[in-house]
Point group: C2
Chain length 146, copies 2
């Protein structure tokens, strides 16, 4: 393990293509850490760039920053393998559905039916992706029944 390069926030920003404001925000949220300061200025180890790539991947997968934080540095010391496995399963579901949507779009782009809602092929796709479509919408704070 060679001592990694140390960079200031501007360089990290350039390498990751993330605005500095985002990097500060991520640090505040605990997603990344700076290794120290030079005066006021944050100093980052180069490996933060990799971590940021991971974070971005997580975001593509549409995990929230909190979920990502949970996966990267869980409560204890090491990663929660069970959680990861569950997330992978969730993702797999999502991929199935996305594939259905993609096929639906693909088809709709060439289909002659007036309305896609009238097209039997499209309807079939709808059913296909339909499992779980109308489920678990995000909730706000739940009321406690007094």
């Amino acid at each position: 393990m060679k001592p990694h390069e140390i960079m200031d926030i501007g360089k990290v920003s350039k390498m990751s293509n993330l605005p500095v404001s985002t990097l500060r925000y991520y640090e505040e949220k605990g997603l990344i850490q700076s290794v120290g300061r030079n005066g006021l200025r944050r100093l980052f180890d180069a490996n933060v760039v990799e971590r940021l790539a991971l974070i971005s991947l997580g975001q593509i997968a549409r995990f929230s920053l909190d979920e990502i934080a949970g996966m990267l540095s869980p409560s204890g010391s090491n990663i929660d393998r069970k959680l990861l496995s569950e997330k992978a399963d969730e993702l797999d579901q999502k991929i199935q559905q996305l594939s259905a949507v993609r096929d639906g779009l693909r088809h709709a782009s060439v289909c002659k039916a007036r309305s896609h809602l009238e097209c039997p092929k499209f309807k079939r796709l709808l059913k296909l992706g339909n499992k779980g479509v109308f489920r678990k919408r995000k909730q706000f704070i739940e009321k406690q029944p007094k």
Copy 2:
């Protein structure tokens, strides 16, 4: 085409499992339409449920409501096939990346390496999904250079 059943908002809510507030919101945004009123009460044709399923699919695919609106009822009369095809391509890209993430998670859930950032397999996956990871973040209103 038999005359479809006509329902009030509560029934639509039950069938789609969407809160009535969401249905009103969608109507306001032009994503769905009521076929009329009975006094104050909105009346919906049963086919709205199918449309809502489409909308939910679109959301799973992480299109914004505006994009979905664009795909369902575009500017003119009929659907913009080119747009759909483009969206399908975008989706396909996203599916690739999600698959990479899923594999990454799957692997991480069994990998022995101390830190996943140190695991070569994981790093490889990172690179794989990496194309486009650090790209096109959402922007707010852009400043005009005066």
